[in-house]
Structures are given as structure tokens and as C-alpha cells.
């Protein structure tokens, strides 16, 4: 019977494929595995450039910064990750606190100002970003709104239902950790509760969608990171978007870093360190400021002229390595109802 032979062959073929699949799926030992909490659209090109420059093949897990850090903690010693690349000093700090990161060589770490790296050399910032209030000037005027003087004023009823945030995003989580460190646990929890009660509009982990909602007039303002605006303006120079930096060293003007660390369990620490060093190379640093509109963390890079110079932002006094208690922050955000 022809048909049964065909089925039989199909079965045989499947068995062979199933037997071979795990072997081919297994990464070759030379492949560097990067767990990235930054999106592919932002860092995919620079990772490709790393492979082109060094010839080191790379595979990347993309995800949410906290989730990917969590994943490493869950995997423990089994983790295939060699490098963790996240967009929040807090997540890096949490991994360092769990003894998951190896010390980086001084010649890599010392390129970066102490404010933007771990005091023990366990992680290093690779680009900096500012927290900011983004607003739609036309809509703010139309609604007769005043721009708030502090992030704490966003709980005012005049902003009810008018402010957007991205509570699942790592940068927002770091913002909450900063509030906890600067104002205390109770005040931070109260701020979250008041924001939720004020019907703040959630955008999940998605700051781009928050910016787009402000640009197209769905909401007049939102708290986010600074760099999303320039990508949208590049596509549409007419987009009604503007930045407002909270004055007076307000917690809402936190400067955070995206950064990287090498896993203590990495089976190829040298290539992993090479990747971190590459992120700090002039090429990568220039990419960050030109293409992702972030602030470079080494000297001698020409700042993207669109960006507000860091020196002019009144930054709150906080040590980024104090943001490492991510766990308490995540619990606080979850219990506030911000994620619902």
C-alpha cells in the first residue's frame, strides 16, 4: 500500500528530525549568549556590529529587563547566559547581590565615571538615560494644564486620567526604587497608590506606545525615558512632543543607566568581557548617542545635538548601586494595583 508507506516514511523522518533537533539546537561552545533586557529594535544593530567586528557569533534572548534578570536567577547555575545586558542599574544590582556576576577587569570599568558603575566592578553602565515628563504642548494648552513642578504633583486631581506610565518597564521600576531610597518606603507606596487612584493610564512595559499616545493626543502627558521622543520625531518631525525635566533635584529627574555584567557561571568569560568592552568602545558609544539618543558614558564622544546636556539637568542625589533592592520595588508596584 502506497499510502501506508508514505505515512511510515513520515514517521521515520519525524523521529530522525526529533533526534537531530536537540543537537542542532544546542549552541556551539564558541557562541556567546546574551540575555538582553533591552529591545531588539534598539540594540539589535549594535550586537550585529559586535559579531561583524570580532567574528564572535552571538545569540540573544530578548525580554523585559526584570524578567530576564529573573530568568537568570531561576536558571541559577544552569543558566546558558554569558552576559546580562539590562536597562536598569537596579536589575544589575539585584544580580550582583545574588552573586550571579563576576568582577570585570579594571581596564574596562575604569573608563566609566564612578557614578555610572558598580563600586565592586560587578557591572558597568554602557549608556545613560534621563527620566522625564513627556507632554503634548498643544493638548496641554487646550486643557489649560500647568506642567507639574515635581513627579509627586502628578497625584493632583487636575491630572486625573491624563498621565501615562509604563509600570512594567524596568526604568519605571528604577524610578520607584529611587523614590523609596529618597523618600522612604511609606511615601513611595503612598505615591503609587495615589497615582493609581488618580487613574494613571498604564502602557505595560511599552514606553514607545506611551509616547505615541501622547503624540497623537490620546493623553496629554506621561512619565518615561527621554530617548523615545527623538525616534518618533525622526519619523514625523511634526509630532507634537516636548520634554519637561522636573527642576530642583526632583526624584522624577533620575538619571539611570543601561549596563552590562558578565555572569559568574559563564563558560566563556573572555568573549563576554570583550562584548562589554565593545559596548564601551567609541563606535558603540557614538551609536548609542546618535542612533538610540542616549548619553554616552565615556569621554570624547560627541553628544547628539538633539539631547539636553546632562549637566543642565538637576539630578537627584542618589547612588545607582543603592537601587539594587528590585524585589521590594516589584512587590510594591504589584500591590499598588498599578499592573492591573
Amino acid at each position: 500500500m502506497r499510502f501506508s508507506r508514505m505515512i511510515f516514511l513520515l514517521i521515520l523522518l519525524t523521529c530522525v528530525v526529533l533526534a537531530v533537533a536537540p543537537i542542532s539546537a544546542q549552541s556551539t561552545p564558541e557562541t556567546l549568549t546574551i540575555y538582553s533586557g533591552r529591545g531588539e529594535s534598539l540594540v539589535g544593530p549594535i550586537i550585529t556590529l559586535f559579531t561583524e567586528t570580532t567574528g564572535i557569533p552571538v545569540e540573544v534572548v530578548y525580554g523585559n529587563t526584570a524578567a530576564v534578570a529573573n530568568q537568570i536567577l531561576e536558571e541559577g547555575a544552569n543558566s546558558p547566559a554569558d552576559v546580562y545586558y539590562g536597562q536598569d542599574a537596579g536589575a544589575l544590582g539585584a544580580l550582583a547581590k545574588a552573586d550571579m556576576l563576576a568582577t570585570l577587569p579594571a581596564e574596562i570599568v575604569d573608563q566609566v565615571a564612578p557614578a555610572f558603575r558598580s563600586p565592586d566592578g560587578l557591572w558597568v553602565g554602557t549608556s545613560a538615560r534621563a527620566r522625564v515628563l513627556v507632554y503634548n504642548p498643544a493638548l496641554v494648552e487646550e486643557l489649560g494644564l500647568e506642567l507639574p513642578a515635581s513627579i509627586l504633583d502628578l497625584t493632583d486631581p487636575v491630572y486625573k486620567g491624563l498621565v501615562g506610565w509604563a509600570p512594567e518597564n524596568a526604568s519605571f521600576q528604577a524610578q520607584v526604587t529611587a523614590l523609596r531610597v529618597l523618600l522612604g518606603e511609606e511615601a513611595a507606596a503612598q505615591w503609587l497608590a495615589d497615582m493609581v487612584a488618580n487613574e494613571t493610564v498604564g502602557f505595560g512595559s511599552n514606553n514607545t506606545n506611551l509616547y505615541l499616545a501622547v503624540a497623537n493626543g490620546e493623553i496629554p502627558m506621561g512619565i518615561s525615558n527621554h530617548y523615545y521622543m527623538f525616534g518618533i520625531l525622526a519619523d514625523n518631525p511634526e509630532a507634537p512632543l516636548a520634554h519637561h525635566f522636573f527642576p530642583g533635584k526632583d526624584p522624577g529627574s533620575l538619571i539611570n543607566i543601561a549596563g552590562a555584567g558578565v555572569l559568574a557561571t559563564s563558560d566563556q568569560p573572555e568573549a563576554a568581557q570583550q562584548f562589554v568592552a565593545f559596548l564601551l568602545s567609541p563606535v558603540a558609544q557614538q551609536y548609542f548617542t546618535s542612533q538610540t539618543y542616549e548619553y554616552p558614558v565615556i569621554d570624547g564622544i560627541i553628544l547628539n545635538p538633539l539631547l539636553t546636556p546632562l549637566e543642565t539637568i538637576e539630578v537627584p542625589e542618589i547612588d545607582l548601586s543603592d537601587l539594587d533592592d528590585l524585589q521590594t520595588t516589584l512587590t510594591m508596584i504589584e500591590e499598588s494595583g498599578a499592573l492591573d
Partner: protein, 532 residues
Amino acid sequence: MCLLDGLLVMTIRTRFTGLKVISFLIIAVVSLPLIYLVLRASASGIDGINYLLQPRTLTILSNSILLTIAVVIASAVIGTLFAWITTRTNLPMRRVVLILGLMPMVIPSYIGALTLVAAFGPVGYLQQILEPLGIRRLPEIYGFFGASFAITIFTYPYFVLPVRAALLGMDRSLEEAAQSLGCSRWQIFWRVTLPALRPSIAAGALLTALYTLSDFGAVMVMRYNAFARAIYVTYNSSFDRSRAALLALVLVALTLLLVQLERRVTHKAQTYRAGKGTTTITKKLRLGRWQIPAFGFCAVLIGIGTLLPIGILLGWALNPHVISPIDMKLGEASWSAVTTSVLTAVVVALAALPLAIVARRTTSYWSRRLVNLTYIGNALPGIVIGLALVFFGANSMPALYQTLPLLILGYTVRFLPYGLAATGSALAGVNPAFDETAQSLGLRPWQRLFRVTIPLTWASIIAGMALVFLNTMKELPTTLMLSPIGFVTPATRIWMASEAGMLALIGLPGLILIGLSCVGLAILLWRDNLKG
């Protein structure tokens, strides 16, 4: 091959023992996710119970139940009406209307929801059209309304198919009798037609309810805090992953309840069947002045559910100004999705065959009972299977972690019920005497399997495989959680692009996905034609 042969030789010596051994192995593997979920959730002990006793859990539970009820009622009304119009009236172009009306089945809910937001969002395309009229924004689409709207639009076909089948197979003499007794058309519909449709509507309702509870895409896009979203967000934004497992267990309990309900109803439904009766085709109801409203109803449904999403995807795909900052890897993604889906379909079909034989051909209470366990896939939403297998892979089986086999295992658990239903129903139609005769003629067990059982059931098996293929192609949550590193499918690329706010980039992968799903659907329809 030798192993296969050996196990099947056991079958001939001790009737079905070999198959039972294989079946129990399959059942053990398939129950892994649930076992791991319970282990992981129970690890949190008393804290876990306290966590679940928070009002938040109750809110998520009531959100999910509310959504399910709304979707079931709305889909039932729309689906039944649509099925009735396309089978019983003289609506022009009925076949085209029917096929277009079934198309939403191949549109994944996340694509549907994304295009609905693009069209009907506060400042979507509709608002832009209405802008000259001074309308600055439309009412909020996000939340309960948007989620139930999106899921309804993409689930009503689940009612159309069974209701249409029931309408076609109905004993028409009952309606004619009612007519001769002086009932109006309306009275006939309420007092004769609708009661006869009750079993099919009930079956559609439970299918839709299960679909709604497990839906991930629409509730994520519409930001509605039902279980699937709550589990995903908790998993992503909490250090204590046992919390996600706890929420998942509550969802499993809820879906198990529904599955139990379904078994009761479908069991009862069999007693309702009217037998062959007379299914002679009587003349279609003349719509007369109702023709325009009936046509309008179908047009709106097709417009929103089929033409709008495909149109918007086309618009995005053809927009020359869209430049992707990254490589979308669509060729690679499509190839991965097709091969994995075919592989899953084959694995499911292979796993379903022994299970179905044991369930149908043995009399042992326990074997039947155990085979029923595999239907648990129906009660395990993709997000839950993904979560459970991540725990399993990361902690107990690092060799399998982030590999294709684990992903395919996830798909298999999820879609095994489809394969079982297809193979099981086909086996029910095969006289066991054929197999026994072949045995008495000295055929070896594997010869019997290939020369008797499979040739008699292959059309149904292929249909089951097509269904599994179709669903694996568009699967999102399990894929997101279990993908090997670097593994991409059109579904995960769409998800990535929408997360990055680059909606226009989902145009092409969206169309590819729908196109490939249509292939699966075509196989299903082709098999229907085969049956005559």
C-alpha cells in the same frame, strides 16, 4: 523502528498491553506541566495562600468570568444568527458570505486586537475620518469593552460551524408540522428551531468560553486584566515566580470546571439527536424586505472581522515609507513556524493514535479514565503550559531547556485534545471486526495498524493534523516562553514589533501568518469535500 515493532508485537500477545504501556508513557509526559505547576505553587506554602486571598485575585477572577460571559453571549447571538441566515434564507451570494464570515478563525487574536485598536482606538483611523466633523477622540476602546469586542469578533465562527451543521441535519418535518399548525415564522424559530439547536449552541459556548479564558493576545493588547494577562505580567514583573504559578493554578481550576461541564453537556447532547429524520431540502425562507438588514448584518460582520484586519495589514505591508531598523527575519521565521507546526502536527497525531485506540477499544475503566487525562490540555492555556515547562526545563531538565523538543512538547500538550478528538471520532466509525479479521488472517500488529486502522481513519487524522498545524502556526504565549534562543516565528516577530511600537512592521508577518493558516484551513475543507 525496532522498538516500535517490539512494542507492537507485545500488543498481539496480550491484547493492547503494548499500546497501554505507550499510552501511559504519553500520559505521564503530558501531565508534566500540571505536576510542575502544582509543585512550584505549593513551594510557596502559606504565603501563597495569603497571596491568593488578596482582593486582587478576586478582581482578576471576576474580570475573567465577566469577559467570558460577555463573549459567549455575544458570539452565540451573532454566530447563531449568521449561521441561520446563511443556511436557511435566500440571501444572495450565501457561499461567499459564509466563507468570508468564517475567515476570522484564521486571524490570531493579537493581530485582530492590534488592527481593531488601529481602526477604532481613541485616535485611530475612524477618528481621523471623523475629524472634519469635529470629533477629537473616540470613546476608550481599551479594557472590558475592547477585549470582549475583539474576542467576540474572532470567536463567533465557533458557533457558526456547529449551528450550521445542526441546521443542515435537522429534521425539517418538525418545522413543517409547526407551520401547518399555524405557527408564525418567529414562533417556529423560538419554539422549534432554537430548542433543536441547543446542543450545538452549548458546545459552541463551551468552546468559546475555553478560548476566552486562554486568550492572551487580545487581553494584552486591550490591557484588560484577565488571568492570561495577570499571569504574564506577574511572571515578568515579580521576583517570586511562584506567584504566577499560583494564579495559573486558579485559572486551571476554572477551566477544569468548564471542561467537566462540557463533557456533561456534550454527553447529554447525544440523547437529543433526532436521528436521521427527513433532511430533505425544503425551499429557503424568502427574506423579502428583510433582505437588506440581513445582508447589512453579514456585511458589517465580514467588514469588521475579515476585511478590516486584512485591509489594515495590507496597508501597513505596502506602505513604502516603513523601514525596519532591524532584520525582521521573516523568511527564517516562516520556515521555523512551518517546520515546527508540521512536526507538532505529526507528533500529536502519533501520540493520539495509541491513546485513541486504548480509549475506544479497551473496556478497562482505568485506561479510559487515564486517557481522559490527556484532555487536560484543553484546560491548560498556553501561558500556563509555557510557565510550567520553563520551571521544569530551568530546574530539572537543563538539557531540554530552551530547545525545540521542549517547545514541541508544550505545543503537543496544548493541542493533543484536537488530535485525540479527530482520531477518536474516526476510530468510532471503524468496525473492530476489521482489525480482528486481519489478526485472524495472521497480520502482524504493525501491519494491521498500517493496513487496516490507518487507511480507514487517515482522512480524519489528516484533518486533526491540519487543525493542530493551524493552531501551532499562530500560537503566541507558549512560543514566547519556551522558544530556543534566537528562534523566531511570524507570531513572535509581530509581538516584538508591536512591543517596540512599530505597528506598520506587523503588516507583512501578519499576512504571511494568515496566508499559511489558510493552507491549514484549506486542508480541513478539502477533507470535508472528500467525505462528499
